[in-house]
Structure formats: C-alpha cells, structure tokens
Amino acid sequence: MSTEEKYVAAAYLVVFAFVLVYFLIMALKLARLEREVGELAELARKRADG
C-alpha cells in the first residue's frame, strides 16, 4: 500500500470510527434508558400492589 493510499484509507476510516463511536455511545445510553424504564415499571407495579 502506497503512502497516498494509506492517507486516503485513514481519512475514510476516521469517518467510520467517528460514526461507530457515536453509535456505541448512543447504544449505551439506550441501554441505560431501558434499565430506567424497567426500574420505573417495577416501582409503579409496587405502588399498584399497595
């Protein structure tokens, strides 16, 4: 692989990495929200049971 090809590959990989990290962070956040929904549902169920 020539130096020029390496720079082009690096530029495209950087974009891919940025988007991947973004999705990773969003996935972690989604998992947290899912856990919180579960906790709130549990709390609501306990309240309903008295």
Binding site: Y7, M26, L43
Partner: protein
C-alpha cells in the same frame, strides 16, 4: 426515512468515489475531497440549523426548540471534528503539514469549531431552565455569523493554497466528479438528519423518564 436514505446513500457514495469518479491530476489523495467537503458543509448546516432553532426559541418560544438546537450543535461539533481530522490527513500528504496557521479558512473553521465546542461549557455551567435555554439560544445565534465568514474566507484571501473546488463560474471539476460530490453531500446530510432524529428521540425519552421518576418518587 432519513436513516434509510443514509443507509442507501452512504454505500453508493463510497462506491462512486472509488469506482466511478476518475483520479485527476491531484492523484488518489483527491478522493478525500468527496467526504471532507460534504462533512464540512454538513457541519455548517448543523450549526445553521442549531442557530435557527435557537431563533425559534427566542422569537416564538417554541417548546423543545432549545433541545433541538442543542442536538444540532452537538452533531455540528462531531462533523466539525471529522472535517478537521480528514482535512489534516489530506494536508499532511499534499502540503507536508498537518496544519497551516497561515491558512485563513482553516483557522476560521477552527475558530467556528472551538466557538461551538465552548457552547457545551456554557450549557452545563448554568442550571437547567428558561435562563439556560435563552443564553444558549443567543450563543448559537452569535456563532452563526462565523459561518459565512468561514465559508467565504478562502475567496476573500489574496494568497491561498487551500484548493477552490467551486467559484463564481461553477464547480471546477468533471461532471462525474461533481455528480459523485453531490451524492456524497446528500449522504452526509441524510446521515445528519438520521442522527439528529435518533439523538433527539433519546433526549426526549430521557427527559420524560426523569419527569416520571419525579412523579413516582
């Protein structure tokens, strides 16, 4: 819808860049242009959209406009970082330097990037509420002034080495290159729209859960 569009356009744009667009006199390194410039334009669009939402908040008091402005600016900073990194990679090969402080467009883009990066410091140093929303909206509007300056800097400069792909006579490239560029730009804008909706939905859900937690507490 925008997510589907982005999922379709991104692979097409990569295929067009590597298998359709010709390699011109600048060599293979020029292929970075097809992603670098659309990403930079998308960053401008993000900041512009963030400022528009800020204006809507101040002008019409539109509910949720503050959050929409924040998400757009957050994505603008991400696209801005991608612009700086891809641009540096291009410059290292073409100019032999990662960065040139003598280049007005680069410096102005960096100023724009840092200005909007500081937005988060402001936002998280003020308690959530109407005052924070108003301050953030005003800040986002101030930043938008830098967009045309940054965009036009290269045209206002007397001496520059940053290449100009578009001038008053239109695009300075072959038809196939311009077509590839347009598809890449559409892909990046679709990616922005998809991420914007995705992040906004997450933030709204987060806010509603917080409300629910307070009600149940």
């Amino acid at each position: 819808m925008s997510a589907i569009l982005a999922a379709v356009l991104l692979p097409i744009s990569i295929a067009l860049v590597f298998f359709y667009a010709p390699v011109d006199e600048d060599g293979l390194n020029q292929k970075i242009f097809y992603f670098h410039v659309p990403i930079a334009l998308t960053a401008y669009a993000c900041f512009g959209w963030g400022a528009w939402k800020g204006l809507m908040h101040l002008w019409k008091g539109k509910p949720g406009a503050d959050l929409e402005s924040y998400v757009a600016i957050h994505l603008g900073v991400i696209f801005g970082a991608m612009t700086l990194v891809t641009g540096s990679l291009w410059a290292k090969f073409r100019w032999g330097h990662w960065w040139l402080w003598s280049e007005r467009q680069l410096v102005l883009f960096l100023v724009l990037f840092l200005f909007y990066s500081a937005y988060f410091m402001l936002r998280y140093s003020v308690e959530p509420g109407p005052q924070r929303a108003n301050l953030c909206a005003v800040y986002s509007l101030f930043g938008v002034i830098l967009i045309p300056i940054s965009f036009l800097a290269i045209r206002l400069a007397n001496q520059y080495i940053h290449p100009v792909a578009f001038n008053r006579h239109g695009p300075q490239m072959a038809g196939s290159q311009f077509f590839t560029f347009c598809v890449c730009l559409a892909a990046m804008l679709a990616l922005f729209a998809a991420l914007y909706q995705f992040e906004l939905a997450g933030k709204r859900l987060d806010a509603r859960l917080r409300e629910l937690r307070e009600l149940l507490a």
